[in-house]
Symmetry: D5
Subunit: 92 residues, 10 copies
């Protein structure tokens, strides 16, 4: 089941720099892991923003929430979730 | 080059029914044609809405605008275009 | 799988009165049918508005979209869908 | 009398970690207590967000306000309250 | 139990003039009746707008919804309802 | 002359606790004083929020501004002022 | 007492042309009359819009509402009223 | 003096088709004329929308308003005007 | 050339008190100076807010920007600028 | 390929002053460099705001994102990107 997820990241300027770097490295590792597992189907950068548009393919809302809420940068993200259904004109 | 495009369709209730059906059929045919041509890469229905989220892969803004503005339902759509760049954590 | 769905109804004042009544009767029949089938789990009126907040329990986004988009008043509704996950403090 | 209540939690990043944990534990205990008492009828997590949608069943606005404003995380919540009336098509 | 209710009226310009006058007269009669009954406690015009801010005193959300949704001008109103609790600094 | 005033209070979490308590006590004393003087005609708590809806009865915009801007919690309030005129259907 | 009033005019395209012209002529005559009477103190066009920003000087909210609600184009206006107090740094 | 002007065009679906075509042709002629005169310095289409972003170079707000308000499609446009000053880092 | 300028001031609560007082005194002196010079034509307090609505009369956008961006409180202001043209019904 | 980019800068008041000055100097140098390279085609100050409207001419979304996200002030900017297509009435 597909979800379109937009994540906007906003890290406070006074957050310790070394912890940010650690969080970003962990976030990247986790993103790669979830893409390889096939649940994070697409991951695009929004041009000009510290934000992404992603497509997730998971079995349930619970699984989606678990994935998103355990992302290392989750506390600094504003997230919008849009459930996607099959489009009658889609050919795939 | 990728664009995320959201289209919300709103057809006035007093628009002639037979013309709506014709427009919808033309829209569907055009959507299938553009998907087969590889420029309309993804087409998803937003659950609960007469709207879609799409990914287009075209060579320029001009090509995108030509494609979107000649869609049969274009006069009845509110469209939001988001340019997508490569994400540093994407694996594809 | 649960979804919170808010529906706001707006019927154009120049829509034929007899067709509105027919649509409303069909809508009511359909709402009762879906509640009895267990998929429309809760249906509440928002006090002071021609709108409702509902809880749907369906197997997929596709099923949700099919149910909502075939409601007789769907063309006159603005719909907001919120996917609901289990809350760690919920006891049910 | 029913109210739909949406709570979005936002804890400042420089708030002491041990106090957050304490507040969260107290919040959870209070949520369970109020659910068992029958006043917090439903509690759902919004997928992808540190937020919930809840249904409260209380005797008055005063009782609702007392319950919400004494939640341990209340100072960090943005809350939207929607009074719910009986829907003419509801079967329960 | 008190509710603050804001009503903004918007009547389509092509609505038959004589029916508007009739609706307005009925609305006025009903407003006076409900004020005399003590349920419509305050009724103020918002300066510069075809809108009002009102205070209702009713026993339940159901009663409020019944009162508002049967107002003659209800189909042309955008209504915002705010439940009011006792303020700890209020002296009345 | 009447004004509807909505005040939303937001106190930063790192503001000294003892100064907050002092400000709140002063605010309460001032609110009671102004109610007794007849200028703060109504004061209601918005259920579920650290906010109020109030009705002020003062001689001029200048008087209103002086009253509001000298409230002890004024620096932490977002305030919306709506001038109220007599409603043609009001009976009081 | 001063009020800043912004008026945005939106006339439906299918409104009879001769009536629009009549309304506009009446509106202009009324605007001139109220400026000469000293109550409509300033009247500026917002560059690029069918809208104005005005300053009214009247004795009460009631007087302001009477003036605005009897403007010939009032049914086609969205109006925002902002009460103005004396500024402590103003020299006039 | 420069202004950034965004124009969004929305033509009602029941507007006579031949008059739309006439207005569009007049609009195009006028746009070309103003560009040649040097006052409409830039004119870009917003990709995916019936809208443009333009740069005007005129002597005053009055001149800008006269130009915009006499555009043939002005009655169907939502216009946002942003005055532009010299940027301290600009090299032109 | 006239501009309507709205300025909303928001000073962080942890900004040094003595510097705030100094900035406010400088702001006041500058406001008086600019009013006397005839460029800051009107300055009104918005009732109930730490905000003002002002009318500036300057020769160009550049001059306006220089004036506003050198105000002592500029770093703490949200500013909205609206260019004003002559209104065809204005008598001054 | 052209993009309209609006950048609004907001620097926290407690950010070290000497680092701000350094960042601003680097930002200016970079802006001049990119203008000379022909990719930052226009750079205008929005009158009354710490913000700019710019036109970029780059080969791809990726190039645009790289340019914007490496600007020294990027962490303090809110950025809106609008892809621009050729306008059928443009003469250049």
């Amino acid at each position: 089941m597909l979800y379109c997820v937009r994540m906007d990241v906003q890290i406070p300027h006074d957050y310790p720099a070394e912890r940010i770097e650690m969080l970003k490295a962990e976030e990247k590792a986790r993103a790669i892991e979830l893409q390889r597992a096939g649940v994070w189907r697409h991951l695009w950068r929004i041009a000009g923003a510290y934000a992404n548009i992603s497509i997730f393919d998971v079995a349930s809302h619970d699984e989606l929430h678990t994935l998103l809420s355990t992302l290392p940068l989750f506390p600094f993200m504003a997230i919008v979730v849009t459930p996607l259904a099959r489009h009658p004109s889609a050919i795939d």
